[in-house]
Amino acid sequence: MSDEYTDNKIETKSADSSSGSYAPPTENIPAKEAPDQELYHAKSFWTKWVFCQDAKVIGVQYALTATAIGMIGLILSWGMRLQLGFPETFSFLGPATYYQSVTMHGMIMVIYLLTALFLGGFGNYLIPLMVGARDMVFPYVNMVSYWMFLVAVLVLIASFFVPGGPTGAGWTLYPPQAIMPGTPGSEMGIVLMLVSLSLFVIGFTMGGLNYVITVLQARTRGMTLMRMPLTIWGIFTATVLALLAFPALFVACIMMTLDNLIGTSFFMPEIFSMGEKLEYGGGSPILFQHLFWFFGHPEVYIVALPAFGIVSDLISVHARKNIFGYRMMVWAIVIIGALSFIVWAHHMYVSGMNPWFGFFFATTTLIIAVPTAIKVYNWVLTLWRGNIHLTIPMLFSLGFIVTFVNGGITGLFLGNVIIDVPLSDTYFVVAHFHMVMGIAPLMVVFGAIYHWYPLITGRHLNQTLGKIHFWITFVGAYAIYFPMHYLGFIGVPRRYFEMYDSPYMTTGVGLNQFITVAALIVGFTQILFLYNIFTSWYKGEKSERNPWKANSLEWHTPDYPPTHGNFGKELPVVYRWPYDFSVPGSDKEYIPQDVPPSQVPTAKAEQT
């Protein structure tokens, strides 16, 4: 572990194999500067591109791995939708396979795609650059954290190939059914899932350590917490949540594994199953639910908060206007993060828990709507009196606002305990969480990739393909999930393999077919997006430096794209917050963070 206090050794770095513009600082370091971070300089191909300690490379590794496993999750969803929309035509999925698809799709998307992408992908790439650090504070641990993630993914994939197949317990893995014979994969599949999740938690604790400590302690001179871009605030708070919430998942996984493998009864009460009384007894399925949702609710904010932060910066840069209400935005992120720990049992209103808890959790859940709403107002007020470029990142940000407001509002329905009674476990819930956690953050992911792709690769993504990608994805996804709420109002339950001759639910048939067709169209469009990413890497239009004219530090590195060590000989010094757009009294349209006041001609100075 490299540490900052390197007992006054002057750093000498050997010329490394990355681009030669980084000269070793053998001369005196200015006295007021803290000693520079000691970086590991890779020499071989393996240590430069595979077992790399550069957070930028690690970030891309996370992103690629998350995208790959996300594609598997997407394909699983196609299977599910084909079964739901056209059960007679596509009867290759039996109930067991269907439930396995449901489970793996859910777990992959929430944990292995979204969490890994936002924290591991965007966090690793952007945090050191945006706070003015050369790399994360513990680069070796950071590298190990990626490989743990990869191993966790491989263990998850392995569960597809064991006898019994992957677990089909639903992504929520509720006992007793998760480890009982009526559920697919209840012997080996569930164990591999639990092991994979445990490995994931351990890996992300290592990564989280890096993100949190880098943000707290490794910022450059002049970078106060309140001068950080909201992207960093979002990712930072999400990481704090992750460090405190993942242990609950870890605890639940360990205890369920023991229940399954050695017959303990942490979660297993007295059970009479398939004609015989089981050896278990005394455990509580509700305990699992409490543990799972104590993790599970902060988890959705771990996905949402980075999205909030990133979209604030996207809107601000592309509307050429400071984010409205920066202080409230920071407060809102922090308050939402804190409150997220006291709302978890709104997932358990009909679980049979003590009904009096319903009052408490409904109240806290609806309170959390207030800071969230404030953020929405502030995003829209940033657009007001701005100068809006309808670039692809801006389009995706607008798409985010629409889908997030929609999804957040249906959350108000479900959070109000009595309304949750008819709606829980129906398609209303499915529509809600897809809209608010699938579509909205995904809009931000796409917008962020179009925004930062030039920084990472030096080229632009193809704009025509991008616009097609945006419109089909946004309108298509909205068309999938908005009508789905109404299936929930009818009362169609979730996790149903088929409607099974129900005279009651036949009204939903037309809608199911429409949703399936829309889902397939939107799904295939993502392949277009991947094509864009891979081809633009080597034949995309070359991007000028700082094409979006942003202020934050990641665009102001000596090399474009940034190389190992990020900032060249000297770390930048920060003189302002990142939202100085069209500052009155200056004729500059934007003022980057590392521009000192002396270099900003004011109107007054021009008069003299």
């Binding site: 302690q217 242990p247 605890v251 023991l258 009864s265 305990l287 400071n322 920071v330 302002r576």
Partner: protein, 211 residues
């Protein structure tokens, strides 16, 4: 640990766009806390572990109220292991004091003693497991058993993790040139971690004895 201007309300109420605030901010050195990164790292790990152990304890407290709870008998070996752990903390503390005074030759010996004692602790815990298994008290027999094995296992894994870092620090001490500051820090942090695990053990052991 002294925190710099660390009132979170004041901190988040600053107006970064105002000139007066900007003048103050320009002097900021980029650190929020006056802690070294490694120390902050160890503290974070301790927080995460505290959450893990607390959740296990909550589950334990919930479960012990159910009628099928049968407390385990207390083997005297557990008391021995506890004493070993306490002694280890003392030794580690002494090692830290020595290293603070740059007396690394003496500190080496104490560190070796720490390692030996910790391995003894782990062995002792495993012997307790063996003792119970021989009595037919498996994890699946009874929830109190299950929690005993679980608590000791998770605590033990944390101890093993600590041993990894102890190993790194101790082997460095035996090399010719080691960074003095780094070694001092490593010993200090390992010691803190060991004290933390001791407190965790007190709580777990105490809880199991009381019920």
């Amino acid at each position: 640990m002294r925190k710099k201007e660390f009132n979170i309300f004041k901190l988040l109420s600053e107006k970064p766009w105002e000139e007066s605030q900007a003048a103050i901010d320009n002097e900021h050195d980029g650190k929020t806390l006056t802690l070294s990164k490694a120390k902050l790292g160890v503290r974070t790990i301790m927080v995460v572990s505290t959450v893990i152990f607390s959740l296990f304890i909550v589950s334990y407290s919930d479960r012990m109220l159910v009628h099928d709870w049968r407390s385990l008998s207390e083997p005297w070996l557990l008391w021995i292991n506890t004493i070993i752990l306490i002694f280890t903390s003392f030794v580690f503390h002494k090692a830290k004091i020595l290293s603070d005074k740059n007396e690394f030759e003496k500190a080496k010996n104490y560190l070796l003693l720490v390692g030996f004692l910790t391995f003894a602790f782990i062995t002792g815990q495993l012997l307790v497991w063996q003792h119970y298994v021989n009595l037919g008290q498996y994890a699946s027999t009874n929830p109190a058993n299950a929690f005993f094995y679980l608590f000791t296992a998770i605590h033990g894994v944390h101890v093993l993790g600590g041993l990894f870092f102890w190993g790194r620090a101790t082997t460095k001490l035996f090399t010719k040139n080691f960074s003095v500051l780094k070694i001092k820090q490593a010993i200090e942090l390992c010691a803190i971690y060991w004290h933390f695990l001791l407190i965790v053990w007190f709580i777990l052991f105490g809880l199991m004895i009381a019920t």
